[in-house]
Symmetry: C2
Subunit: 346 residues, 2 copies
DNA sequence: TTGTATGCGTTATCAC
DNA sequence: GTGATAACGCATACAA
């Protein structure tokens, strides 16, 4: 592995000059630069990031930690953890324009994650923390040593940069559509993980909005894990009730898809017999039959906003920490009972 | 940011002892260890990975570089790049048990990627290269400086560790099922990116297998990009032909889903009028109506195998480079024209 | 414009 | 068991 010393020697210059050439400094004579560049190219010199990081006190790496949920380790055919995947791509897209890279680490439900996050924090300049990937206390402690931006974390964590989406607003719009628009009264809700802030908020907002309407009831099935399988389970529970709901809202799209398919497997027509809705607006929801009515969240913007903020912090921004809330959007398709939309290609 | 020096001073020991405690060496007296540990915990010391990397000549980071295709930058609702996402999770799952982290970098179709890979190579101990994320020549050059394992790369790159799946075998089985099983004669193929080794292999194998059967023709529509949108485009092309195929195989599942939906939008029944098949076996293919007959590839194993191999190389393995080919599996659902399978929950 | 010398935070090789 | 101390490879303040 060639180092600056090798390059310097071969080019007949000092290491300082090599460094200048690498960093694109213009305080170097063109012919010197050319000579150095030639050597660099010839020996295939690539600066060691560890050494650079040590010297510049900056690693040009940010980390993203998230939870992997609802995935059986032995499952070959996974659901696809669409939410976090979308986020990863959104973050990476922003980083693409910078010299920064993305380091990622997923924690699984129960497994010890704190230790890994700790170690990881030594490898990065800043951290994106998705959902409540770590306890609030540790989050705060971490954020004193390192720029941290929380994504989709529990609200109320003041003094911390955070970006989340308007779960409540989306659910209220959805409840209104279901109750007022369609006139459904007996509602159901397939809840997500209790430790997922998004899931908690969605459930609370939906239940509150629905129950605020006269005659509306909400049959909540808690304990899902955002996976399709847990949606199926919830559907079975709902089917075992004396009065099956007219409409079932779900913590996310994957669970909604599970609910739809399980209902259909039991001979129930969706949405004719039971309407079903999701949250997220991921690709499979457009594909399932019937197409899923859902609440769309702006993945791209969520990741981009958080990343931009983190980069600013790393660059030294001392601005007041902010908690941004991004708008969500009701996406009407057919699973709620609305007629076929003649839209070109949704 | 506390350093070993701070900890050493506070604990009244030398930095060497702190280092020993951190690394879990047992050559340190229990009470000393306890004292050091207490200080570490109190000041929240986390070793700087750059310094560690410099000293240990090992960064405990591996990189993954892949291509992002078929995604319009302005698209809000993305298809989800399921293939690479699956891979990322599989890789991360293996890394989870080690002290190693995953750094990732996506390149977009045309954009300059080589420079970023170069810089990235200074940050990692080894590299996973997906598809032909970089020219063969550069790949070889890189692999001389760094352990590299190619995933789903073009075959024939001898002397390099590689893991791929049996695209040809899968396609042959599929062609046999379509031609012999169902008796389709006029076949179509919605091809993927010419620079995607998987896509090229799948097309070649399918066309060869099909044309080897008497009476079979294959109408190939090249130039897709693995996205659902490009599947729709291909479907439109096929529809404009004087003789629409009886069955259309596709480069991947997303394109197949696009084909299905576009055909349906034109009033064509799938599979009654035209059968459609995919490749990959991703979640949306189970959800689409009709459920997609496809060729399943072992994402998990693909990522795990490659990662394990890379880790071995980094650990110093001098074993002969190998190119593993993982088996694929025909997944029969309904889009090929097979009757409803009464399977419990596919 | 270029070179010299030092620091960055850790690990490891020695001594003690 | 523990403590000095020399790398590790790069960036940079300061000289020249």
């Amino acid at each position: 592995m060639p180092t600056v010393y090798d390059v310097a020697r071969l080019a007949g210059v000092s290491t300082a000059t090599v460094s200048r050439v690498m960093r694109g400094s213009d305080l170097v004579r063109p012919d010197t630069r050319a000579r150095v560049l030639a050597v660099i190219d010839e020996v295939g010199f690539v600066p060691d990031a560890s050494a650079q990081g040590l010297s510049r006190r900056r690693k040009d790496i940010i980390g993203l930690v998230a939870l992997e949920r609802g995935v059986d380790e032995t499952d070959i055919e996974r659901d696809g953890l669409l939410f976090v995947d979308q986020l990863v791509h959104a973050v990476e897209a922003v980083l693409r324009g910078t010299g920064c890279s993305l380091l990622l680490s997923f924690g699984r439900n129960g497994e010890p994650f704190q230790g890994r996050i700790r170690a990881l924090s030594g490898k990065v300049d800043g951290l994106l923390v998705v959902e409540d990937a770590m306890p609030a206390a540790q989050l705060r402690a971490l954020s004193r040593r390192l720029p941290v931006v929380a994504i989709a974390a529990s609200p109320g964590e003041g003094g911390l940069d955070a970006v989340r989406v308007d779960n409540a607003g989306g659910m209220q719009a959805l409840a209104a559509h279901l109750a007022t628009g369609h006139g459904y009264r007996r509602l159901g809700f397939a809840g997500g993980p209790p430790d997922a802030p998004d899931a908690v908020e969605r459930l609370a907002a939906f239940a509150a909005a629905a129950r605020a309407r006269p005659g509306c009831t909400v049959d909540v099935v808690p304990g899902g894990d955002f996976s399709e399988a847990s949606g199926r389970t919830a559907a079975r529970v709902l089917l075992s009730r004396e009065a099956v709901p007219e409409a079932v809202a779900c913590a996310n799209d994957q669970m909604a898809i599970g609910v739809i398919r399980e209902l259909q497997r039991s001979g129930i027509r969706v949405p004719a017999d039971v309407a079903v809705t999701g949250f997220d607006n991921i690709f499979p929801g457009r594909v399932v039959d019937p197409p899923l009515t859902t609440v769309g969240q702006p993945f791209r913007e969520l990741g981009a906003r958080a990343t931009t903020r983190l980069l600013e912090r790393i660059a030294g921004s001392e601005a007041q920490p902010r908690a941004d809330v991004l708008p969500t959007e009701l996406v009407i398709r057919r699973s709620c009972g609305c007629p076929v939309t003649p839209s070109p290609a949704t």
